[in-house]
Subunit: 230 residues, 2 copies
DNA sequence: ACCTGAACACCGTTCAAGT
DNA sequence: ACCTGAACACCGTTCAAGT
């Protein structure tokens, strides 16, 4: 708790000390500079110019640090995109989904971290709250809106994680066109005699990680929820 | 190990030596016994009674080992569920999705591994091939079936990964009922004044990781693909 | 409250040498 | 071909001690 300093009390928002935020910020810097393995207690300590164990003053464990980094990246998304006129519920959801994907792609190693820790931070709660509202604007009953919220989160975060998994996760990522081209080349081996359908859809599979496919997946999920077959 | 010279050559299938398969098997055993951190070159070596570097005779790196473990778990799924009469395309897909989820839940740490490596193994190709076929049986054009295949994979694997992320990933996992109950308790803090929609749907959010929600998500995605709004 | 110093029990990976 | 022995450059975390 940061009741010790006065600056912390002035701000009514997050109660974290400045040094705590610095640690998280440095951790994100380390990840952006050195890739997935660069997020370590010792690397953060080195960047701060202190001994490794000094980091434990601000963070409980490596795991806790990872979760704070995730929280930080959620904070880089544009939550305002989720609010707006009810009839635009669809654009709001798609717009925010793209904003979330973009934020993670700026910090590729964070994609994995999002899949390995429960989404229980303040940002996650706020995103959930606004997603439920948007889905209700789309005509979903309350409970279905809550279910749909999670299906959307799974689709969006899962998509980005698998997208990043195709790379070495070292920022900056190659352009989407380059990544699709690399996939296309890697799929050349598909033998039409052995896997006729896969071979015939090589070009589609190469573009599985594209923005186009991302939008398509989210839209299909929305379509399936709006006129539910149950 | 037995007949490391001739048995491997007799079989025309995978060209791997018996010892290679043993290494992967031991890695999976280690994971099942010790959780996510137990999958290490040194732990596998210790289980085999050899020096750490001896493992490199059979596996190129820790990363390669992880991917082989994923391949092994894919092999535990029941691919036959994906084949069947065309009119049952829906049951085939849902049935296989459940089989895949069950296989991963038997080896929880593998869920994360599936999100951190490209799905390019032989099992992944075969699953893709049969998923495309099933979606075609559902009436989708070829390209849409290929797109839908990836959306389904993202939803299924992403769902399981986030489900496991709520636990310590140490098998055996608590029962689903227990895990839902734990989530319900953890969501007690939600303040209706601050997050009215989230607080009102606590019970739904607690069951986000349930089989019911899993089925619902997959079904909604299928609904959205079968009558596409594009 | 926050840091240093030192240590413990681990990692993945490489190299040289044996058989 | 497959292993040992030894080493390098790392990890996360804990404890005791300083200020």
């Amino acid at each position: 708790m940061s009741t010790d300093g006065e600056t912390a009390r002035r701000r009514p928002g997050p109660r974290r000390s400045l040094s705590h935020d610095q640690v998280v910020g440095v951790a994100l810097e380390a990840i952006d500079a050195g890739g997935p393995e660069a997020l370590s207690i010792r690397a953060v300590a080195a960047r701060l110019g202190v001994n490794p164990n000094a980091v434990y003053t601000y963070v409980a464990s490596r795991n806790a640090l990872e979760r704070e980094v995730v929280e930080r990246v959620f904070g880089e998304t544009d939550l305002d995109l989720l609010t707006g006129p009810p009839h635009q519920w669809r654009q709001r959801i798609i717009g925010y989904a793209r904003s979330l994907r973009a934020a993670v792609l700026r910090h590729p190693p964070v994609a994995t971290l999002m899949m390995t820790a429960p989404m229980d931070g303040p940002s996650a709660v706020l995103i959930g709250e606004r997603l439920i509202a948007a889905l209700r604007d789309g005509g979903l009953p309350l409970d279905a809106a809550a279910r749909g919220t999670y299906a959307l989160i799974v689709q969006v975060v899962g998509f980005v994680a698998l997208e990043v998994a195709e790379t070495d996760a070292r920022p900056p990522l190659p352009s989407e066109a380059d990544r699709v081209a690399a996939r296309r080349a890697a799929l050349e081996f598909l033998d039409p005699a052995q896997w006729p359908l896969s071979a015939a859809t090589r070009d589609v599979a190469a573009a599985w990680i594209s923005t186009d496919q991302f939008n398509w997946s989210v839209e299909r999920l929305l379509d399936g929820m709006i006129r539910p077959g149950q």
